[in-house]
């Protein structure tokens, strides 16, 4: 291919079709048929008794040969209105993306691709994730970058010649990126603890099972036929449990490093946000800022003492909750959230450290929900806990557990349920600011949804029979972005009407009781 013009890539006429790079045959192919075929051929030659590495070579050759028709059959074109890809050997498929329907462009490069200077471009259109993406495998890197800049954003970019002639960055490249957040090694501490809950639970289960076995059968001789950890001493079980925790943490850190190493979130003058991440396989996602209607901050319970949180954008289009920041320090989340949400956001909402009940005059706190909401949360969690406690009761009925253990289990579960319900109530709240609505759902993790008023399309009120008895309703803000329904759970009916009327006065006012 000729070197593409940095402003726009080569624009094709209706009849011009191009092949992707031949390296595609070694790399990804949709459906993975050649790789599967290669494995089958290799295994077949192995079973036929052919020795040495010949089966592997034969399998690899078979995979490459099978990929040739796929490479030959795949062509693409970029016209001034569409991006089209024709593919398929047996069943022909044509995927088309219209320029003004494009919502996100993502470029990915595996390690092999990076060495060869290739990238895979994924173009997403449409309003939901189920609409298929148009994928260009293995195109040259400069072309991929030019194509991405050409397709995104869907609005008109700020032309460099309309910039202030006295401004210092006139004369630089038109696309000046403002970095919002970049990878720092201190982020890895979150990775070390992110799956701590699972590994500790697994370790505790191992130790608990070993101890329970000891308690249940103190007199039985160790016999070789019982192949549980009966031959392991308790200290060995404990060391294995510790090893599980350490290994889990190490694996988590490595996985975080591979996925988010070299992370960079930047804002570009053409009105897009770009997220680049990845140590071996690099992925670069472009997001049109005009599609963002809010942000979501998620602070998992384990991250509370470490002060870490995730940041997602609430957006319309194909990817409704694009990841803006992985587990990062809360001050980074606060800074980036403020930058992304714009002037309409209430800066006092960041970081999500404010608890309920609030101190008088504390601007950052959320409005707590009525005490009846606490009763509902606790009732729900205790009911689930009691449902789960059927298990130890059945174990007792079958004679596996003594009654005391079963009763203890029931009490422990009920208390845990009540504690969880209280935690959920503490996290529940909402707040209305000048231009946005802040919602904190009743979950164990601390979350904040900040929705811009413009993002709210309509309103819905739900009241179950149980809620009606307590005078509570759930107010749902309907939006085209994110999860499309943002629920403010368990508030009083007139508070709900008042809230909806304040955010969408033109819509709600005619229906108020006057």
């Amino acid at each position: 291919m000729t070197q593409p013009d940095p402003q726009t890539p080569r624009v094709d006429g209706p009849g011009d079709w191009h092949r992707l790079s031949a390296w595609m045959m070694l790399e990804e192919t949709p459906g993975r048929v050649p790789q599967f075929l290669g494995v089958v051929v290799g295994l077949a030659s192995l079973f036929l008794g052919i020795p040495g590495i010949v089966p592997i070579v034969v399998g690899a050759l078979a995979a490459v040969v099978a990929a040739v028709p796929i490479w030959l059959a795949t062509t693409y074109q970029v016209t001034d209105q569409h991006v089209r890809v024709r593919s398929g050997v047996i069943r022909r498929k044509a995927a088309t993306a219209r320029h003004d329907r494009i919502r996100s462009v993502e470029t990915t490069a595996s390690p092999l691709n990076r060495v060869l200077g290739l990238e895979t471009v994924t173009i997403r259109t449409g309003a939901d994730a189920s609409s298929s993406a148009v994928v260009l495998y293995c195109v040259r890197k400069q072309y991929a970058i030019a194509l991405r800049d050409y397709l995104m954003p869907t609005g008109t970019p700020a032309a460099p010649d309309t910039a202030d002639p006295d401004s210092p960055d006139n004369g630089q490249a038109p696309d000046v990126a403002v970095p919002l957040a970049g990878f720092e090694p201190r982020w890895l501490r979150f990775a070390a603890f992110s799956n701590l809950g699972f590994t500790v639970a697994a370790a505790a289960l191992m130790i608990g099972a070993r101890l329970a076995y000891e308690v249940a059968r103190p007199d039985e001789e160790r016999s070789g036929s019982w192949d549980l950890p009966s031959d392991l001493s308790i200290s060995l079980t404990v060391s294995i449990a510790v090893a599980v925790i350490v290994f889990g943490a190490a694996a988590s850190v490595l996985s975080y490093l591979f996925e988010f190493g070299h992370f960079l979130l930047s804002r570009h003058r053409d009105g897009t946000l770009r997220i680049r991440r990845g140590l071996l396989t690099t992925t670069s996602t472009t997001l049109d800022e005009k599609r963002i209607r809010g942000i979501r901050i998620h602070e998992p319970p384990l991250m509370r003492p470490l002060r870490g949180a995730r940041l997602h954008a609430i957006a319309t289009g194909a990817d409704k909750q694009p990841l803006l920041l992985p587990l990062t320090p809360t001050e980074v989340v606060g800074r980036v959230g403020r930058a992304v949400f714009g002037a309409g956001g209430d800066a006092a909402q960041f970081p999500p450290q404010h608890t309920i009940p609030d101190r008088p005059g504390d601007h950052g706190a959320l409005k707590p929900h009525p005490p009846a909401a606490r009763r509902r949360r606790i009732t729900r969690t205790v009911a689930s806990a009691l449902a789960v406690s059927v298990i130890p009761l059945i174990a007792w009925a079958l004679g596996w557990l003594p009654l005391t253990v079963a009763i203890t289990g029931l009490v422990v579960l009920a208390c845990a349920g009540a504690a969880l319900g209280e935690l959920r109530y503490r996290n529940l709240g909402h707040r209305l600011t000048d231009h946005s609505l802040v919602i904190a759902p009743p979950t164990a993790a601390r979350q904040r949804y900040l929705l811009h008023d413009d993002g709210i399309i309509g309103w819905s009120v739900r009241a179950s029979w149980f809620q009606r008895r307590q005078g509570l309703v759930t107010l749902v803000a309907a939006s085209a972005a994110g999860t499309e329904a943002y629920r403010i759970v368990d508030i009083h009916g007139d508070d709900a009407s008042a809230l909806a009327a304040e955010i969408s006065p033109g819509l709600i006012e005619p229906f108020l009781h006057r």
């Binding site: 309003a127 819905s460 009120v461 309907a478 499309e484 819509l507 709600i508 229906f511 009781h513």
Partner: protein, 170 residues
């Protein structure tokens, strides 16, 4: 002019102005009967074949009859009292449900699709359901039990009103 009582769901929000067609109550009565018939037949057959345990299927049948009586005698009246709808110049407001209650308000400017449909039972009773969708799945409105002609009129009015607003309604 119909009185608009204070809604029990949200005291300061009044109820929508119009009720659905009274024939909807008939529709809501027929459906449980259709569901209960195979259950009753199955229970009777099971009773005939269970020998000394004949009382188990009969007990189930009695419970099913009680539930059926509830859904035929009581629920349709509750539903009819609560199902209401209203189309103003700028918005559509409906409420529905009997155990869990649900009210929705959406602006006409954000409407994307207006659908009218009628199943076989509804066609028999000359009723129809109007479904209005927006860009948000939470903003979907369904008005069931409207008279077929009224439903067509509502759908036509909404389509004309929506055409006056432009944009992709997100």
């Amino acid at each position: 002019m119909e009185t608009t009582p204070t809604s029990p769901v949200h005291p300061s929000l009044r109820e929508p102005a119009h009720r659905v067609d009274p024939r909807a109550k008939t529709l809501w009565r027929i459906v449980p009967l259709i569901v209960a018939a195979p259950v009753a037949i199955g229970a009777l057959i099971a009773a005939a074949f269970s020998g000394e345990f004949w009382w188990i299927p009969i007990l189930t049948l009695a419970a099913a009859v009680l539930v059926l009586a509830f859904f035929v005698a009581v629920v349709p009246a509750w539903r009819y009292r609560f199902h209401r709808w209203e189309v103003s110049a700028d918005a559509v407001y409906t409420q529905s449900g009997w155990f869990n209650r649900h009210a929705v308000i959406i602006p006409i400017a954000r409407i994307q699709v207006v659908d009218t449909e009628a199943g076989p039972l509804e066609q028999l009773l000359k009723l129809a359901t109007v479904t209005v969708t927006t860009a948000s799945s939470a903003g979907t409105i369904r008005i069931a039990g409207l008279d077929a002609a009224a439903a067509a009129q509502v759908a036509a009015d909404l389509t004309i009103a929506t055409a006056r607003h432009t944009g992709d309604a997100t």
